[in-house]
């Protein structure tokens, strides 16, 4: 069946003429039609646009024109990445109805690669959250258990891939928003090196942390998508002008299942305090599997990682308080209270009051405070120093090991509402993922097994611009699973078959 094939298999079948891109795209559109009413991974589906791209690929193939490695393989895009002519909301009421006049660089690259865009996926409003419960347009449900969260902020992309509604999806990772949803939905999530993928057209949450990346069912699929979207972009000043690390070759190498000579570090400070025992057990089994492949496991100390969470919750809100200032009703999006009786400032205030949800407001207020005169050195300034120290911790660790490993997130998918009353409990979901965002280094989350029936992930963190190392280790771990988590069909899928 088409929807159970991996992206690599689909691309091969299309290239070989065994499947048409149109048939593939239709299969996923049908699947969306069938199950998304219950999962709600998508905020907008563009069947027409996706089919048009697919037919173009089929025509190109018939005409003998060269096809890209993922030509004809459909993809879903997180709704915080702007798409020309398609609604882009960041899951916020403040952008409801806005149609961007331009494409993000990564979207332009998807289109150039002949990848049909199925639609836009749900997220926590402006990517602020770890459960997709903060979407202004309703929650997304975890395909493994519809009463549980799919992670966040990229819950829509992860759920779409897990439920076979898309073979691939684009996510964005600011503190773990690709990796943590990957872990709790049994999918692969890759956070590239900061600057390895362009942010142009990614609606900014925290500019110095935001990183677009791939969501997939296998390491190889993630690597192939990574290679389509990565690479220097002159429109993004923070984009790195270097060749893309050879991640698909690394994933293929890893899949051979030999990690002889590879040194992996376990971070002592991620000892597992507060993590769920079943998640830790799945992780331990993963570590043992890596040892069997020949990897050498050593313990390393990263003494400043324990300050990562507080530093992140100063830096990200600070930048967000400035980035979100532009949503003021003047040029686009929502406008509230403009009845002629109110001043401009009153209209701006009323719009922002009505347009932003509670978590976004919480972070804007937090960031405004952290940057305010008299406090900026104490909060934002100190957080930046911690960031430097964390980067040095990574550098010191990578002098000893090739990559670091940890659980991706301390707990498996939780039930709706379990962590919304105490923001800190929600923030803990990103405890292990945040350090890589602060340092800018690449990391992947790879499924490591089930914890009490729910997916758990193992995170591999690698040095800057050595994304290939993370892919190699992740793919090696993936090769030890029989059957692969990626090939197990979650709850919602079973019922529909």
């Amino acid at each position: 069946m088409i929807i159970h094939k991996t992206a690599a298999e689909l691309a091969e079948a299309i290239a070989a003429g065994e499947l048409t891109a149109e048939a593939v795209t239709r299969a996923f559109l049908d699947r969306i039609e069938a199950v998304d009413g219950r999962v709600h991974a998508f905020l907008h589906v563009d069947a027409e646009g996706a089919l048009a791209t697919a037919r173009q690929v089929d025509a190109d193939r018939a005409a003998g024109r060269a096809l890209g490695p993922l030509a004809g393989v459909p993809v879903a895009v997180k709704d915080i990445v702007v798409t020309k002519g398609l609604p882009t909301t960041a899951a916020s009421k403040i952008l409801e109805g806005w149609i961007p006049p331009y494409d993000a660089t990564i979207v332009a690259r998807l289109k150039a690669a002949g990848m049909p865009i199925l639609g836009k996926t749900n997220l926590d409003e402006f990517a602020m959250g770890s459960s997709t419960e903060y979407s202004a347009f309703g929650v997304t449900r975890n395909p493994w258990d519809l009463n549980r969260i799919p992670g966040g902020s990229g819950g829509g992309s992860a759920a779409a891939v897990a439920a076979r509604m898309a073979p691939l999806a684009i996510g964005t990772d600011t503190g773990g928003s690709i990796r943590q949803p990957g872990a709790v939905t049994g999918t692969v999530g890759g956070k590239p090196t900061y600057g390895g993928t362009s942010r142009y057209g990614l609606i900014a949450f925290s500019s110095s942390l935001d990183t677009p990346g791939p969501v997939a069912r296998t390491m190889l699929d993630a690597a192939l998508l990574h290679e389509v979207i990565a690479g220097h972009d002159p429109r993004d000043s923070t984009s790195i002008p270097q060749p893309v690390p050879p991640v698909s070759a690394a994933a293929r190498q890893g899949a051979e299942g030999d990690l002889t000579g590879v040194r992996l570090g376990m971070v002592r400070e991620f000892g597992g305090d507060g993590a769920e025992p079943a998640v830790l057990a799945a992780y331990q089994a993963g570590v043992e599997a890596l040892v069997k492949l020949g990897a050498e496991i050593v313990e390393v100390s990263c003494p400043h990682f324990e300050y990562a969470l507080p530093a992140y919750y100063l830096i990200a809100p600070s930048e967000c308080s400035s980035n979100l200032a532009r949503f003021d009703s003047v040029r686009y999006g929502l406008r509230v209270g403009d009845d002629g009786s109110r001043s401009l400032e009153e209209v701006m205030s009323a719009t922002r009051e009505a347009g932003f949800g509670p978590e976004v407001k919480r972070r804007i207020i937090l960031g405004t405070y952290a940057l305010s005169s008299g406090y900026v050195d104490e909060y934002y300034g100190q957080a930046q120093k911690v960031r430097t120290l964390i980067t040095r911790d990574f550098e010191a660790a990578f002098a000893k090991v090739d990559a670091l490993i940890s659980p991706t997130t301390p707990f498996a998918a939780f039930e709706f509402g379990a962590r919304t009353s105490d923001p800190y409990q929600m923030y803990l979901a990103d405890l292990y993922t945040i350090p890589s965002n602060l340092s800018g280094g690449p990391a992947v989350s790879v499924p490591v097994g089930l914890a009490d029936g729910l997916p758990a992930g193992l995170q591999v963190m690698a040095p800057t611009m050595r994304d290939d190392v993370a892919y190699r280790v992740g793919a090696a771990l993936e090769s030890t699973q029989e059957p692969r988590l990626a090939d197990q069909v979650p709850d919602v899928a079973d019922k529909e078959l």
């Binding site: 702007v82 500019s207 993004d236 000043s237 308080s321 400035s322 040029r331 701006m348």
Partner: protein
């Protein structure tokens, strides 16, 4: 309540010492905007020179214009500043509808250029103005308020914003406080802005036109009693001409001294200068100062100008206006007063070019400052736009020096040149304008005049040489002014002796 009366300016400066400071904004004449590829041309239809970046659309990112960075460094070098080896842009956060992102990308505590100076001449004395900093930022859009009586936002029914100007590179040049200039403070302020404008013009980085807003100036003024601490300052905006700079300082000195005399305190505030009344009125109070929440711009990488490149820029600076003026004044043998007149007339470049084309300085200056200035005034045109080139003036003066033309004929030749009839020589030939020096023809004309005026001839014969004027007039009429009057007079006297 005490009564506030306005003292005379002389009384005010006799009692108080004024401290002034100037913040000047210069729009750079780069081809494209500061952070995007939009054109910077002046005068286009509203909102036609915009793109996702300068409109601050969600997802758009800035890329710094290197030509603007170079221009700023050149300004800094011309102002004897130290050029930063490493510095960053910063975000200045505040809400205003003409600012698309609701933050201005500017510089905060890491300007590109710091600690310089500019010498200006006032009343024959040199005053050194210390420069605190020169930094680079982006301009805002322009708001227009319609439906109200004043064109201000109060009472307007609608506000319109034009973003064509948004994102044009803007250089801010801030002086250190200037004290000790006594009664000359207003003139020093004017001389500084004048000199600064000349410097920037000589660099060719801006057209520095105050009336178009490409040079804008805010003037800070405070008063203190001799020996006491500096007083509270006010910042005067809307100072749109060189003359207004001087008047604004003068008016603030008078206003503040009136308040201080009456025992009142000066409110730290922004004030607006009004050309018509020559007075300032209060704008928004700075006592509820906006907290701009500056922080380093995360979307742009730091600037680190290569010191070798900077020294090449330093070596390639043009001769600065003050040096040039001194050189030309000496070369042309002018008094300071004459030189000042040439400067005021905007004739320095024209005279220099005329001399370069072969004219003697005295002749070149005579034409530009005399006949041509008069015509430019009549036509209400700039001298340089009159329609005669320095080369043509040099050619004209050459004809005079060669005795081919006298001043009267030369003026007729100018008529022809301005009418587009060609170069001076061609005009003189075509119009048949030349001094009649053929004495045969002249002698005939003289004899005819004597024969026609026997009474006058007798008077001259009897020694009343003044009577010869009538005969000279007749000869000049006969020769249509092309005779040399002196030659005619000599001829008449010799015939009648």
């Amino acid at each position: 309540m005490t009564t506030v009366t306005s003292p005379s300016y002389a009384d005010a400066v006799a009692k108080y010492e004024a401290v002034i400071g100037l913040e000047t904004h210069v729009e750079l004449g780069t081809r494209t905007k500061m952070f995007c590829g939009c054109t910077t041309e002046f005068g286009a239809d509203p909102n036609t020179q915009v793109c996702p970046v300068c409109l601050g659309l969600p997802g758009a990112l800035p890329v710094a214009n290197e030509a603007a960075i170079e221009a700023t460094i050149r300004i800094g070098l011309a102002l004897n500043c130290r050029i930063a080896e490493w510095c960053r842009f910063a975000r200045k956060n505040y809400f205003y509808p003409d600012m698309p992102k609701n933050f201005q990308t500017s510089q905060y505590d890491e300007p590109l250029c710091e600690d310089g100076w500019l010498d200006v001449d006032v009343d024959g004395e040199t005053v050194r103005i210390e420069i605190e900093r020169v930094h680079l930022e982006e301009d805002t859009g322009k708001s227009m308020h319609v439906g109200g009586a004043t064109g201000r936002i109060q009472g307007a029914t609608e506000s319109l914003v034009d973003y064509n100007r948004a994102g044009i590179p803007l250089v801010e040049i801030v002086t250190k406080p200037v004290n000790g200039t006594g009664a000359l403070a207003p003139e020093v302020a004017r001389a500084y802005v004048t000199e600064l404008r000349e410097v920037i013009r000589s660099l060719g980085v801006s057209d520095v036109r105050m009336e178009q807003g490409s040079l804008r100036c805010d003037v800070n003024t405070s008063l203190n009693l001799p020996g006491q601490e500096w007083g509270t300052r006010t910042e005067t905006k809307n100072v749109n001409s060189l003359r207004s700079v001087e008047r604004a300082v003068r008016s603030e000195i008078i206003r503040q001294s009136g308040l201080l005399d009456a025992g009142e305190r000066i409110v730290q505030e922004t004030r607006h200068f009004h050309e018509d009344t020559g007075q300032t009125t209060p704008g928004r109070s700075k006592e509820t100062a906006t907290d701009y929440r500056y922080f380093p711009e995360p979307d742009l990488t730091p600037m680190s100008p290569d010191p070798e490149w900077v020294s090449r820029l330093r070596e390639a600076l043009p001769e600065l206006p003050r040096d040039r003026r001194r050189r030309l004044q000496e070369a042309w043998g002018l008094s300071s007063l004459d030189m000042a007149a040439v400067l005021n007339a905007g004739a320095v470049d024209l005279i220099e070019a005329t001399v370069a084309a072969g004219a003697k300085p005295e002749g070149a200056r005579k034409w530009w400052m005399g006949e041509l200035s008069r015509r430019a005034n009549e036509a209400e045109m700039e001298l340089g736009a009159l329609g005669i080139s320095p080369a043509q003036v040099a050619e004209l003066q050459g004809l005079v020096d060669a005795g081919t033309l006298n001043d009267k004929l030369a003026r007729q030749v100018i008529d022809g040149v301005l009418a587009g009839e060609g170069d001076p020589k061609a005009v003189a030939d075509a119009r048949g304008l030349a001094i009649v020096s053929d004495t045969g023809a002249l002698t005939a004309a003289v004899d005819a005049a004597i024969a026609a005026n026997p009474d006058v001839a007798d008077k001259v014969r009897s020694g009343v040489h003044a009577a010869a004027g009538v005969l000279i007039g007749a000869v000049m009429k006969e020769t249509r002014g092309q005779a040399d009057a002196k030659t005619v007079r000599e001829l008449i006297l010799s015939r009648l002796s």
